[in-house]
């Protein structure tokens, strides 16, 4: 089974994100970037599947600027076999990424797409679902457990009310949640091997995809600062405020 793992280069989760002064987006200059944590979990799962013999090849794919190649190398250092960079200096919306991934899936005849449920920058949580729809494949989202079953997969989804077990036929798109696994550290031999692994570069045009944006960002602002609370003298005043000001009781 050939597994495709899309990965995204995002601002490192430990960096304090700042909005640009002109409100067109967030500050990316001199900011530490890293692989989206959910993508890391997806790579880890794919590598475990390879180690278990369920996957035959793990391909890491990223769409973005040239530097996204570093994110692909990180995936290769974790144990993926090869990489694909879809080079685009323009920012890509989830639908465009889904279309690009569809083209790669078809080109590679992948049997499964294993990806993060969302990226921690845009928090859109759309690409996996859109990709499944475009491919006409079944999807298992927010997955915290994956098992191989006859002719397909059994996955456990983290839903609001608890855990939901779903059987999927292959090929399928699976998006992963936080509790699926603990990603490994890249080992020194794998870090050194990653350098030699192949990364193919292609453009949206090469894949015949129109990746132009459909959305316009009006402005990006910092969330409002939290206002200080008020002190109440006694329980009677608290109840009065809850009843008459907050109107919650």
């Amino acid at each position: 089974m050939k597994v495709l793992v899309p990965v995204k280069r995002v601002i490192d989760a430990n960096v304090k994100v700042r909005v640009k002064a002109d409100q067109t987006g967030v500050e990316l200059t001199n900011v530490k970037m890293a692989m989206n944590p959910f993508c890391e979990i997806a790579v880890e799962e794919a590598v475990r599947m390879k180690e278990a013999g369920t996957a035959t090849e793990v391909i890491v794919v990223s769409a973005g600027a040239q530097q996204a190649q570093e994110t692909i190398r990180t995936g290769l250092a974790m144990g993926a076999d090869r990489g694909i960079l879809i080079l685009s200096e323009a920012s890509l919306e989830p639908l465009a990424v889904a279309k690009l991934l569809k083209a790669v899936v078809e080109k590679e005849s992948a049997d499964m797409v294993l990806m993060g449920k969302q990226a921690i920058d845009g928090d859109n949580n759309q690409t996996g679902q859109m990709l499944a729809a475009l491919l006409g494949w079944p999807q298992g989202t927010f997955v915290s457990k994956i098992e191989k079953a006859d002719g397909g997969l059994k996955v456990t989804r983290e839903v609001d009310g608890g855990l939901e077990n779903v059987a999927l036929k292959l090929p399928a798109v699976v998006t992963v949640d936080l509790r699926l696994n603990q990603p490994r550290y890249a080992s020194l031999p794998n870090i050194m091997k990653a350098k030699k692994k192949q990364i193919d570069t292609m453009t949206p045009e090469d894949l015949g995809v129109d990746a132009s944006p459909r959305l316009t960002v009006l402005k990006v602002v910092e969330p409002p600062a939290r206002k200080a609370g008020v002190k109440v003298a006694d329980v009677a005043e608290l109840i009065d405020k809850l009843k008459n000001e907050a109107k919650v009781i």
């Binding site: 080992s187 870090i191 990653a194």
Partner: protein, 386 residues
């Protein structure tokens, strides 16, 4: 000129730092409290590092090590420097001097060290001889085909967990124009050799749990096969294989200073007095400014010296400068950190006082600041003299 790390180096840094932060930091408070790392815990750390392929990263690949160049290995040391040495000692970096082993010794000493089956320690320092290694009082006398050692060593780091010691001893004296000169020779002495004893050393303020030991040799008899290199070659192999180890002290100082700095900056930005963060008061803000400037300077000095080693450029003076500056910087940075934290900088619930204590030894071991200054001055005078 390119100051960027390559992608492999970045990944190495990220991996070591992530390991140190998630696997070692959580163990530190207990090590500080008890002053001990239980051997089972040490073995556990060792096993994890081995699984990562990061054990013995300094030893060439042909002997099973990681084969890192000086620069990348210095980055590893820098990140390891963040965590307690009592824990990072289990991230094995066997002494490079073991590469001077002959083929038979490699099988018995180098390869088991690289595999993490044996641990080495380096025994040079004596009560009467430190940097002045020519004047060792430990002697080895030839008796038939054996050598018999007598004398003692002290301040021998991690000898308590070592399976053998790399011991320097005087094997005689040669008459020279400047008077008699001792012949220094290196021996590999197994822990269980009769007449060799390892005793607990001194309790010190720096690096709790990273112990020093006293080694004594009382008619300790070893066959000639235990000699590392040739008789009288001890100082030469010491200079060949150990002169770069000072750089690891510089690198660890830089790593620890960055950790201290991050904690201090966070504190200065969030601790409020008189209605604003204390970092906004110039007295505190300028301390942060000095700290980060000096940390960056020490970092580049250290990496540049490592780079010079990789290029086979002269680096002795550069290494001395890096060791001198980085360790003295760490002293100032940790002192400033205590000042910014105020009383909280001195309580043992916080790590700041520990960093301050730990920093003190860095200016002393592997050649004091004075020795480094001597090396630097001598190099300058040689260059400018007649």
């Amino acid at each position: 000129m390119d100051f960027a790390l390559n992608h492999e180096q970045q990944l190495v840094v990220e991996t070591v730092r992530a390991f140190v932060e998630s696997e070692l930091y959580p163990l530190e408070a207990e090590v500080e409290r008890t002053g001990v790392v239980p051997p089972e815990l040490g073995r556990e750390i060792q096993a994890k590092v081995k699984a990562l392929g990061f054990y013995a990263p300094n030893i060439p690949e042909e002997w099973g090590g990681g084969g890192l160049d000086h620069l990348t290995f210095t980055l590893v040391e820098r990140e390891l420097g963040r965590a307690a040495m009592a824990l990072t000692v289990w991230w094995g970096r066997p002494s490079n001097i073991l590469c001077a082993c002959n083929d038979e010794q490699k099988q018995r000493y180098l390869l088991p060290c690289v595999a993490g089956e044996r641990i080495d320690c380096l025994a040079i320092t004596e009560p009467g001889a430190g940097s002045d290694a020519r004047n060792l009082a430990t002697v080895a006398r030839r008796d038939g085909s054996d050598w018999v050692l007598n004398g003692s060593k002290h301040f021998i780091s991690h000898a308590d967990i070592a399976d053998f010691a790399i011991v320097f001893a005087a094997t005689g004296e040669d008459a020279t124009a400047k008077g008699p000169r001792k012949r220094i020779t290196c021996f590999l002495i197994d822990r269980d050799t009769a007449g060799f004893e390892v005793r607990p050393g001194y309790a010190t303020v720096s690096h709790r749990g990273y112990h020093n030991s006293v080694l004594s040799f009382d008619d300790c008899r070893v066959p000639a096969a235990q000699m590392l290199g040739d008789e009288g070659q001890g100082l030469e192999i010491m200079n060949t294989w150990l002169y770069a180890t000072r750089l690891t002290v510089a690198a660890m100082s830089v790593g620890r200073a960055r950790r201290v700095f991050d904690l201090t900056a966070e504190w200065a930005a969030t601790r409020r007095q008189f209605g604003r963060p204390i970092g906004e008061f110039q007295g505190t803000g300028f301390k942060l400014a000095d700290m980060i400037t000096e940390i960056d300077a020490a970092d580049w000095l250290t990496l540049a010296a490592a780079w010079a080693l990789d290029q086979d450029l002269p680096a002795n003076r550069e290494i001395a400068s890096a060791k001198l500056y980085a360790t003295e910087m760490l002293g100032r940075a940790t002192d400033n950190a205590v000042q910014v934290f105020g009383g909280m900088g001195l309580v043992d619930e916080m790590p700041i006082e520990r960093f301050w204590r730990d920093a003190r030894v860095e200016r002393i071991w592997d050649g004091t600041s004075e020795i480094q200054r001597h090396i630097i001055a001598r190099a300058i005078l040689r260059e400018h003299g007649e």
